[in-house]
Symmetry: C2
Subunit: 676 residues, 2 copies
Amino acid sequence: MKKARLAVFIVFSLLALSLLSPARIVRAQGTSSLPIMPLPAHVVEGEGEFPIDGNFGIALKGYKEPRLERARQRFLDTLSRETGIPLWRQAIHNPPHFIVQTAGPSAAVQQPGEDESYHLEISTTDVQLTAPNPLGVLRGLQTFLQLVRITPNNFSVPVVTIDDKSRFPWRGLLIDSGHRFVPIPVIKRNLDGMEAVKLNVFHWRFADDQGFHIESKKFPLLQEKGSGGFYYSQDEVRQIVEYARDRGLRVVPEFDMPCHTASWFVGYPELASGQDPSHSSAIDPTRESTYTLLTGFIGEMAALFPDSYFHTGGDECDVKEWEGNPRIQEFMRAHAIKDGVALQVLFTGKVQKIVAGRKKIMVGWDEVLQPDTPKDVVIQSWRGPESLVEAARRGYRGVLSSGYYIDLNQSAAEHYLVDPLGAGTATLTADQKALVLGGEATMWTDIVSHENIDNRVWPRTAAIAERLWSSQEIQDVDAMYQRLAIISQKLGYYGLRHRLITQEMLERMSGELDPAPLRVLADVVQPPRLYQRQELRTFTDVTPLNRLDDAVPPESDTAREFNEIAKRIASGKATPMDWQQARQWLTLWRDNDAKLQPLLRRSFLTQDLAPVSKNLAQVAQIGLQTLDDLHENRLVKAELRQQNIEFLKSSAKPQAVLLLMVPHSVELLVEATRTQ
Amino acid sequence: MKKARLAVFIVFSLLALSLLSPARIVRAQGTSSLPIMPLPAHVVEGEGEFPIDGNFGIALKGYKEPRLERARQRFLDTLSRETGIPLWRQAIHNPPHFIVQTAGPSAAVQQPGEDESYHLEISTTDVQLTAPNPLGVLRGLQTFLQLVRITPNNFSVPVVTIDDKSRFPWRGLLIDSGHRFVPIPVIKRNLDGMEAVKLNVFHWRFADDQGFHIESKKFPLLQEKGSGGFYYSQDEVRQIVEYARDRGLRVVPEFDMPCHTASWFVGYPELASGQDPSHSSAIDPTRESTYTLLTGFIGEMAALFPDSYFHTGGDECDVKEWEGNPRIQEFMRAHAIKDGVALQVLFTGKVQKIVAGRKKIMVGWDEVLQPDTPKDVVIQSWRGPESLVEAARRGYRGVLSSGYYIDLNQSAAEHYLVDPLGAGTATLTADQKALVLGGEATMWTDIVSHENIDNRVWPRTAAIAERLWSSQEIQDVDAMYQRLAIISQKLGYYGLRHRLITQEMLERMSGELDPAPLRVLADVVQPPRLYQRQELRTFTDVTPLNRLDDAVPPESDTAREFNEIAKRIASGKATPMDWQQARQWLTLWRDNDAKLQPLLRRSFLTQDLAPVSKNLAQVAQIGLQTLDDLHENRLVKAELRQQNIEFLKSSAKPQAVLLLMVPHSVELLVEATRTQ
């Protein structure tokens, strides 16, 4: 609770500072304190504001197309939601003080590297948005929406001039509809979120071992047998492609092969490598019939997706399936293929030709980069930035996903500081660097459902979007978090549910109408990072994702802010407000256990949280005692101090598939005490 | 916060009591303590529970139709949301322990009075739902969903046998898409809510002076000129009609005439009575061309809506428009029509013949009941229950809406205690009583937007739905509120947004990420009741509905519960928990003002709340002092006591278009003190 107020307070203070000292306004990099995310390339703030009220009017000038009309309507819908003023109807007829000037069209099929720049000039009386094409207009409209705020006088945007363009041409979000089917409304609202933060590639993955979730008319058994009844019809796909184009988003489809393909074999067992298709997950690369089917299938899908790029996966092949099959062994011997890896090279080469035959450029994961890979293939790096560097050095274009795995419960800061042109690329030439197209956040759905997916994607993906759009020098994590909190709220106007999910799931798992004490606990725990969660809990594709580690966001804002305060207290730099906030939180946590325990007992989904809650109380008790010691400058007994540190370390270990995030901060405090 | 816990506590206590004393289980009226709303006709509770887990399987037996398959899928979707268990896919294939047995079809076009009964039998191992037709199945599935709860062991439903049927055949909700266009997704989720509480009539009103919001292909200028660009296409209407039928809901369209029709005249000025069509709101009943157009239009709409009933409005005619027009005066003289009222009778008679010519039964508001009205016309009573009684006495069927005006910010209890067969009907014969078909909640949209409509409709409409479905003897308001809180939460699983809206609007109006102190104030204020709000604030159809009186629900749960506690304290019947809760709330309210005032100053939408917040603090201060006086049994000075009472009375008056709901309760406390 307090955290949010604090963030707003800081932003307000920065705004106030800006007003006092115009020299501060334009930062070294030309950025500003305005809550825009991603930060624009160049900002000059002025004085005053442009009011938004019932007289607001907006006109489109210059190049016209229906997509621009629809963009205006969506802009007005969002602006109406941001203000509660019913502009969606009137603003088209009102005298226009907001002029959108579009110079010309963008490409018929959106291409990476198209100009997305815009110029936004806001005075006290007029707004001018000019762009070379509709893509820039889309980006500029989002910037305007982010500037809208309420003041003592009205809703308004500040007077400002912004010149903005993107750093990387490929800024994506992967949504994995392979592991789990993701319903269309969920896809749509996430595309809305992508538009809001100026991403431009929706990487849509349709199949994995668990399911095949798109309609093929040529090979209907794929979805009829492999989808469990839930798949996207081709009409729905076309609708999403249109929806994405409206928002300046390309749709790059992925059909992962030759592995992760068990679901294909339910309908077409002859594709499988294994002697028993029901226990096979790799396509058989040795049969001609395989390529006949793939030629037909890729042809059909290439026609469905207009994008120039086509992703054929290629990751994580367990080559033993091939190497252990006598028939395939025989083929390898006959063709002098030394091992399974080499067999995948053969497969990839054939698939690449099929893709190229459809005038598409192949994209693949790391593994597709082999000595003979054609030079136009794009490498998506998931194993580490090194493969991206290697690809660029060898002349291949690449997209970074390693470091942007938003399913792994890392912090926004960790993702934010990963740069596609990071340290490892220092030795690349400028031409080689230009081959690094950008990056993609990856929302794998192994252990996320359509219910909690929004809270894994957002708001953290906005931080990655900023990394990919904004200047490389922008690295201030604290400032990022301040803006992230504001953007997170704005994303609610786009229908995203990330801020609602935790409360809903807490109500469900507790059976309470208002499980306030459970919320207190939930606010300071996180799911374990990286792959530790899977080690602590068994997940299948029908595991109910309804426990606390499913419900909480990947990152505890409260714990992060408490940690900042603890650091200041420990280093003697705390303000009186810091001390007060620390005491308030610690008291809340200490006293929460007594309220929470009876509630935990009433539900089978919360019973295992009892020790976590008890630990939080004890950690808080130590924290309060330590605050007193520090405040009074008391000497503490070395033995007790050591005991406390040990308890804090043990309570920071995973329990009930959760990490309590407070102990580490309290440990900082304890370590700041002096012993007798 | 506390309120919710309290409600759950009470329900838990009741459940516990039930387990202890089986004799208590079946109440006098055959109802139970289970959180079902509307309460079923007959309930027998057993022991134990039927678990809901990944093995859940459900099968349809007996009569089959696609609607039942879809109902099962929606049931599984909702059950999955209620539990987080992904049943939507598996439960169709799992061995079925839940058998749905349907005897036969319902009518091709749903009729009022069709059998909606069902028999639901839940044992520890099996569930049997049997019904004469799909309507009963739909009702029974909803009952089952309401029974789902979490326990220390699992998700489950209790062992119970329910025999249920509806009291009234016409249980409706009017949504007024005339004053404001209500987007399709809003309509859909409200239909889902209607299904959840077993309503069966969606009364859909399409036009008013402010707009004409449905597509006519015969008279396209109606929507092209009269809608401002926002109207339902006929495809969308057909889709909603199907959507409603799937949920056991009839759709009764209303085209209000001859008045409230200004929007018709933008496209067809020749319909207007006034010499200047742009200042006319009444159709000209004297021209033949009027009836030519209406014959065509009603014919088109009658074909679009399959329901056997067709609502032609007829309310609130300002007959002066006719009486002041020389041409119309001339007509009246020529035809010996004595006044405007008589002219409307003539109009209604002609319209009724057009409607009957399309094999539809006319429904109209009170005003259409005239000496010669055909006997099959249904009278919808909005002016008071007397007109319903009069109609029944004269042999007309009627539907009650007076008392169910959910736009007027009355309490759920007030609506709940209005009965279509209330005191005024005592003198009717049994046959006459049978003419009272039921009632309809009316969601007028004069001053509600698609943004806050859910929080005006829900959860209060569930109380009205119970009145219309359940036994007349069920009158316990406290028990109703306990169940209402639980149903309110369940309605969230149907996508209704009533529990989210206030927080979102508070964030927007304050510009804060978490406006906690504003929430404290919001929780104890209400918009003024009945038509007082319109007297205090000017509303046009473009007024932004983004202030606190738009954001808060019509009824403050916190204030209601505080009032109950204050009554117990004043009457010496309070528990120690009551005292503690009262002190806790009063302290919160007293201390809130200091936190809230700086926040209020930062936004133009909250500045006028400053005195309301200040009053709350002073009221709370008086309350705390009075609690001490009562607790210590102190004598207070008569003069101070009187001063306090006067202040409390004045602070209960509307301010900033809001009523502070606490002063009255504190006054009860003050009046319980003794003077020196």
